[in-house]
Symmetry: C2
Subunit: 659 residues, 2 copies
């Protein structure tokens, strides 16, 4: 007993059926599970009762929080575990629960057949059956009611011939009609209803390109504009991306502005960091004038849409010292005893150019309404994807409220959580409503690390609420592997991200141009980082990875297996530098096996073990593996097959297995 | 969000700390965990918040359902997992929960030291510290308040010397006083309180002897009496038992009475089954006249107590057709369409001598009050242990209510659930309040079966609510191993039960006399079962196991390790017929290693691997193992040691490991 549930009243006297260990469920139903339209929810539960009666159980589900229930009957799997599944067909918040009851008709039917078959006198049992049928007449409607009345009458007048009685009891009409009108007055309803956050498909399958609009100018030293971005759309679309994400596009503060390579005291023409939001030109609802106007931005969105690209904006809820909020709403900021505003700190580091918002301020309500109005403002400008900067430095309850509001009003909106912090904090943010999450992928480079991490993300209940989005690089993260591994390292990380992650992204053009110089030895920051200065990229360099990226993203679009993470399975390879894993589309219609050489320096070879039954294939003979990167085809056999990968040619196979 | 928790209000705006994955907890706090007095509750939880503040967390606990909280501070273990423990010192229903908060003082202190050590100007930070201290002055009481006031004043006037400031901030007086008066206004309280059912020690450690009083007569063919039982007490006590359990002692029905070996139509002098309760002599509150009077029964209880024996009665909530309830409360029974009372069935089997009670009757309230009055009646006669017959055929909600009532009024009362049914049903009964439970032990005979089953019972969260009581035999179960294995098989099963189970029992004298004749081939029923007839046992047979049982039970009393199940650990032996396992008392003060030859026919030998560090011993050299059954002593070494066991001499070692 929970103490609070201990009163006599709370123990229902009629409760005979137990429903427990319900799956899927996040924290006992405290948070929603997540799906995209067209996916299924497989519901499982332990269901049992005292005694020996026959149980029936239904999953009840609804495509809204208040609508009527639909029902699907559960089946017993084994050891009191029951199962049923349904598909979620529309975006929004669905819900589900379970109801179960001891079925008096089914119990009678089972016992009656046993007794009749054992040759016992079943005269009284026939009367019991007739009583049950007459009770069902009352519950049935229309012709069913009439038919049940006839069946009850026939049953009551059956002569004592067990064989005929068995035939009558087993009549399919009788059984199916009785099943349709059960006596559910004493049904047990599971005490919880779990919510299902159903997103559009892009929540599950998305390909992101991050770019600084201000670096899009075609002329050296000119600040890029939204119009420059329009000129770049065909190239980005050709690479096969579907989300184009911009760092903040708002006015950048001048007070305490940072210069090149994060140095203090910049020259007046240095642009500052886009994450230092707000100046006299405006705050989170304004656009940095050098980028263009709101009309330009809308034009860019429309042009992007014609290329199949959706613009994602950055939500960075923090302020530069000259953000209008600082004067207009001093109550939203924490003050130090000397009257100054508290700037961001991670002692001994100090970030004087950033003022955090105080979510515990006296006017916490006013603050959160304002922040909601920021999101709604951009939604009204057509934005439906947000990348959220550092959500782990704002209260979880704030996100649960804000994302709940948006999901209610604009359920097609997606949020990517940029939190690189402790695992439980990242999971809590995902539970609080974020659609996708950045991951530790950038720091998982060995076979063991990758296998353990993606098994946790894709093969445990974590997957019910946490959707990984894999980034080999970001403006903040140039990992050691990329710094030291040269062009093959970029290819390896690209292929890993694009095949391990149904959602992945790159920060370009730094990525496709294999930019790998850190600001200093031991740092993951870029040298001459675009965070603090405009860069002019030579996009047509012959060693650009853009063609490979285009090929990779085409493979993703053409192969359903790569568009979801749940089927991920690792396969043994007898070489620690080689990693092999597969993804399989439903009913094995599409099977992709990826083998990657994690060593960017040397050719590696080894034997991988592939058993077709792991893909649900019943097959003993040879099968074709078709490398979608090189178009090479091989004949493989059940069991061990040889692979050899030269990182300077192509460090990976992406095999489609053809039956 | 659970759908019901989705309203805006329910998302506390100040909630910054998350408390989740709390252990121990049964079904998310729905049911109590179980302990006995003197045991500890180790509470663990994931606790974290947004941002980078320093957390503090307390386990709050109370020895009653309504009393004030005591608190103990939790410590961070790793990866946001926190822990604390407390001891439960009294019988009754305790409760516990967790509270945690972002500690403004500790956060300030950590950041202040970092900044001061980095040589930064901390003048404003000193003022912040002084403000925090002044706020604590308000919360503190008496001299603490005065001392904090002085410390705040000193702090506010510190000159800008970082070294002195660090010394002041780290002053133990300052830190401990500030810790004592934290600002907990924004603390997060875990939303659940879990109950702890704290029983007396016998709930954890008990040694049961089951006996039919009517077979205790010293004269052939005379019905035994309570007075005869008194004469047997010294012998039972000498074997070392502490619970003496009787099958039902109530009047036995005459209608449909069963004869010898469960045959119909007995002769008038056959006694019938004690589980067919009720006749014109009375029902569940009456005593079968041939056994004696209530006064005799009380005398027996008193005599038993002087021998350290506690009498346990059987609660079998069912009726013979001539039970007074059938006439006085026809509404408590289900009727068939022909007007007859529904007897017990397991189609095609029929039990015409047993009428089940209908817990869904119109007068369900009246029925359950009457059944409670039965329990309270016997409690008032001094009984505090009940073995409950077939609880799985009555609603779980009934048990939860009944046992909850008794635990509230007589918390020292123990209930043993006799349910041999599906595992989840047995677990649900244990959750509903049963103190101990029968197990599948009787059907776990191989090393693999025993290892898997007792690992599940003793090393998983099941142990929080399910206390196994191991029976090698019962009047219903004479397993194949005992039927075929002869005397060595009885010894093997005795030693397994007594060392694997802190609670175990035997049904005697059938057990100590190695009674092994089934009623027919393939049946687990005894031939000439005492369930249907009086038996006269030759208790002084020289091959009786009573001396070995006495030795075994003495070993249990003398070795703390055997009095609890939680420390059970299996050790490898390179022979499938040999099983080795240990139990260790707290702080390794007592270590018992048991090695059993499961083959009742042949000598078996093999190497067992023992690593002293598994018992918490830091030891590389040899150690002594002392066989408590034979008094032999051996010198063993870390790692592999040889064992050889002849079932016809002694099929087991019970080693005390001496350091």
């Amino acid at each position: 007993m929970a103490v609070t549930a201990q009163s006599e009243k709370s123990i229902s006297r009629l409760r005979r059926v137990v429903i427990e260990n319900v799956e899927p469920e996040v924290d006992g139903g405290r948070f929603p599970i997540k799906r995209t339209t067209g996916e299924s929810v497989v519901v499982r539960a332990d269901i049992y009762a005292d005694g020996h009666g026959v149980l029936r159980a239904m999953v009840r589900y609804s495509p809204s929080l208040t609508g009527a229930w639909r029902e699907i009957e559960m089946k017993l799997v084994e050891n009191d575990r029951w199962e049923a599944q349904f598909e979620v067909s529309s975006v929004g918040t669905w819900r589900y629960t379970i109801t179960a009851w001891l079925d008096s008709f089914r119990t009678w039917h089972r016992d009656f057949i046993k007794k009749a078959e054992a040759g016992q006198n079943v005269a009284v049992d026939i009367l019991t059956g007739a009583d049950l049928t007459r009770a069902a007449v009352e519950r049935a409607i229309g012709a069913d009611s009439q038919r049940l009345f006839e069946l009850a009458t026939e049953l009551a007048h059956l002569p004592g011939d067990n064989q005929r009685a068995i035939e009558r009891a087993n009549h399919p009409d009788f059984v199916s009609l009785m099943d349709r009108y059960p006596d559910r007055r004493a049904a047990t309803s599971y005490e919880k209803e779990s919510a299902i956050l159903v997103d559009r498909e892009r929540a599950r399958f998305s390909t992101w390109y991050e770019m600084f609009p201000r670096s899009c100018s075609t002329e050296l030293n000119r600040h890029g504009t939204f119009r420059d971005c329009i000129a770049r759309l065909p190239e980005i679309a050709a690479m096969g991306f579907d989300v184009l994400y911009f760092p903040p596009i708002h006015p950048i503060g001048r007070i305490e502005r940072k210069g090149k390579n994060n140095t203090p005291n910049p020259t007046p023409d240095e642009p500052g960091s886009p994450w230092a939001i707000g100046s006299k030109e405006g705050g989170h609802k304004a656009i940095q004038p050098q980028l263009g106007t709101l009309a330009d931005f809308k034009e860019l969105q429309q042009q992007a849409a014609t290329h199949g690209l959706e613009i994602a904006l950055d939500l960075a809820f923090q302020c530069a010292p000259d953000h209008p909020y600082v004067n207009e709403h001093p109550e939203w900021f924490l003050r130090r005893p000397d009257g100054s505003v508290q700037y961001a700190e991670n002692p001994p580091k100090q970030y004087q150019d950033i003022y955090p918002l105080n979510f515990e301020s006296e006017d916490a309500d006013g603050l959160r309404e304002e922040l909601r109005s920021v999101v709604y403002y951009w939604i009204k400008q057509g934005i439906r994807i947000f990348r959220v900067d550092n959500p782990h430095t704002k209260p979880f309850a704030f996100w649960e409220w804000l994302l709940g509001e948006v999901h209610r009003d604009y359920p097609e909106t997606l949020f990517l959580a940029e939190a690189f912090t402790r695992p439980k904090v990242m999971y809590q943010l995902a539970k609080s409503g974020f659609t996708q999450s950045y991951t530790y992928f950038a720091w998982k480079n060995t076979k063991r690390e990758l296998t353990e991490y993606f098994t946790e993300l894709d093969q445990t209940p974590v997957r019910e609420f946490f959707r990984p989005n894999l980034w080999p690089n970001t403006p903040d993260i140039l990992n050691e592997y990329l710094q030291n591994g040269g062009r093959p390292a970029f290819i390896v990380r690209l292929i890993l991200a694009a095949t391990l992650g149904a959602s992945y992204g790159i920060y370009g053009p730094a990525f496709e141009l294999c930019e790998n110089r850190p600001v200093r030895q031991g740092s993951e920051e870029y040298l001459d980082s675009e965070k603090y200065q405009i860069r002019s990229w030579q996009r047509d360099r012959p060693d650009s990875l853009k063609d490979l990226i285009a090929r990779m993203n085409a493979i993703r679009r053409e192969n359903l297996a790569l568009q979801s993470d749940w089927s991920l399975r690792f396969h043994p390879v007898e070489n620690e530098q080689l990693i092999a894993y597969s993804k399989t589309a439903k009913d094995a219609s599409n099977i992709i096996l990826t083998v990657v050489n994690l060593d960017p320096r040397y050719t590696q070879s080894g034997w991988t073990e592939i058993l077709p039954e792991q893909f649900g294939l019943d097959m003993q003979g040879p099968f074709e593996v078709h490398d979608l990167l090189t178009d090479a085809k091989y004949t493989w056999r059940r069991g061990r097959n040889y692979v050899e990968l030269n990182p300077w040619k192509m460090p990976a196979h992406i095999f489609r297995i053809r039956v």
